[in-house]
Symmetry: C2
């Protein structure tokens, strides 16, 4: 990743599944809202930190700057992760799935190492446990150090 790249444009998905699945051209498939889901993992520990969405602009800026940009659906705006919190996500790698409709972004988190707006390191801190016939409850996972 470099901080000097200009804006990226992206090829359209191919109607040929083989090209989409085995080709070496990046053809991200944005959904009807122009968004693609991004699973963000810790580059060192490999655990899932968050799942967010990117539009074309956020994806381009992520590649341009080497820092994670998302599209905030709740605020309907571009979101440079960590811009206010200091929890900047430095991109280590970006991987796409078979049909190119999902991304996995591996990052190193700056600042205090947090990721979740609740202050936690990861957004995934509660397990869904079975609590009886047809019943669930959430159980907090042990907190990992930042």
């Amino acid at each position: 990743m470099t901080e000097t790249s200009p804006r990226f444009t992206f090829d359209s998905p191919s109607a040929d599944a083989s090209e989409q699945e085995t080709g070496t051209v990046f053809r991200p498939r944005f959904d009807a809202n122009g968004l693609i889901p991004c699973v963000t993992i810790d580059a060192k520990r490999h655990d899932v930190l968050m799942v967010a969405w990117m539009n074309r602009d956020a994806l381009s800026r992520t590649l341009e700057t080497g820092e994670a940009w998302y599209w905030s659906r709740s605020r309907a705006e571009l979101w440079h992760k960590g811009e206010t919190s200091g929890q900047i996500q430095k991109v280590v790698s970006l991987v796409v799935d078979c049909d190119q409709d999902t991304l996995v972004l591996a990052v190193n988190v700056l600042g205090d190492g947090g990721c979740c707006h609740t202050g936690r390191r990861s957004c995934f801190y509660r397990s869904v446990d079975i609590d009886g016939p047809g019943r669930t409850r959430l159980v907090y996972l042990p907190a990992a150090p930042s």
Copy 2:
């Protein structure tokens, strides 16, 4: 997880963000299409195998049976992963994110250990690399043994 649980029903998301984010009641937030994204990871290696979608029925069946069920958007039908391929995903844990609109499912894969319909262990086998100013290319990752 048990194979004898009856059908699960799910509470609605709370309008109270604190309840949604810190409560111990599972309140999955299905989207406008009745779906919630599920990041499926390998329970032992912790890498991302696939990202798929569940509706209420798929989520209930996953909890009922201890095996992963999804909603196939392309086929518009319930999808018991591995039913034809033998690549059944045995559930080890299910974790929900802060606002309860995304799931992480940790599984052990049966059969030949594959997950992707292309025959690979994971759907994420190509890295998005920068190939010059504003240009990308996909680069195959080294194949991990199944």
